[in-house]
Subunit: 237 residues, 2 copies
Amino acid sequence: MTKSTTSTSTARKKRARKTTAEAAGTDQLVVDDIRDAVSQFKRERIIAAAVDCFYVHGYSNTTLESVADQLNVTKPFIYAHFKSKNMLLAEICSRGIKVSLAALNRIVTAPGSAMERMTIFSRDFMMAVLENQKPVAIYFREIKNLDPQDRDAINELRRDFDHKLIGLLDEGVAAGEFVLNDTRLAAHAIGGIASWSYVWFRPDGPAPAQQVAEEMGRLMMAMLRPDPGAPWDSGRV
Amino acid sequence: MTKSTTSTSTARKKRARKTTAEAAGTDQLVVDDIRDAVSQFKRERIIAAAVDCFYVHGYSNTTLESVADQLNVTKPFIYAHFKSKNMLLAEICSRGIKVSLAALNRIVTAPGSAMERMTIFSRDFMMAVLENQKPVAIYFREIKNLDPQDRDAINELRRDFDHKLIGLLDEGVAAGEFVLNDTRLAAHAIGGIASWSYVWFRPDGPAPAQQVAEEMGRLMMAMLRPDPGAPWDSGRV
């Protein structure tokens, strides 16, 4: 994958600079950190501009020129960070699942019961999706425009997410904290509640993101532990 | 909108045929019914072929020729039923929300408590989405390719759906059957669980559609009436 090539080349440059820094003393290290930070900052600005363009006009109707125009830079500025429009799309499309997986990874390795960890995760996951509404929307609209290799890599992240979430739900069922017939379907229901928010959530809507995340987290948790006296639940196994 | 023009012209032809039928006797009426049924059958075959093409290759990469090829007919056959590729897209994109709204309309006017009606609706809604997986996927991928008028018409159906679902949830809260802080967010959570299924559900997967609809319906109902003793629910208002 081209992406890993870039990472390797960045790591190589970084190692080279580190060696120079060791010779020159700690001052050089600070400069290196700033250099990396500036490069990262530029990358994020390019991504943000591309997110806006792809979100409003769609991927096919967006040129790298229009992304450059929005940043008041030239195309070579973008090429220094992304080799193609398609690499930029792959980076954007992986955002939503990467932040969601990061939230899940934090919780999977944390101490506490499955119930305690799911309570935190349900809100964090919802918040991660709300904060990445445009990348999530772009991913679901532009799946067909992704390079097959990039699509496979993102699907691999999604499988990892599902696998770990089902594992956490299984843990809670085994401990008697959750009551579920099918933890795989419950994981899809949780994923649906969060991911779907890109369709209806408006940052300037009636409820702020934090409040929406709080309430959606509670709805997710309610699914995992139904009222034992509910009349519809006679079929519980 | 071109669609309503077509409907008017179909209605006019139908009226003309009815008059002929009145003169000729009831035999002609049967023939008219068959003519309508055949026209409807052809329309559905065209839609099914277009769904397959749009789903696999995307709207932009599909020509009306390729849809005609799949049916072993010529382009004029399609033009007799749909004036353009875009009209065909609008018809497909409205499918998922139309069947969901039909399921909701049946339940809104039915007798029974909010709890009883929601129990039926949650499964029917899930089933309607599972059975229209490809049109639902096409709608969310091709939103940008819809004619603005068609997009507005579909959004109007979605607003009607949300409004009626929130109304039913409010009814249940007022009757003490549901315990919810925010019925609007609960409606979005239910919508998310169902709509999201186009991403993960496979008709040849581990669980058949009927079983998935049953279980997702129970998860939706669990959200509406949480376990009063759940430790995460101390913030209930």
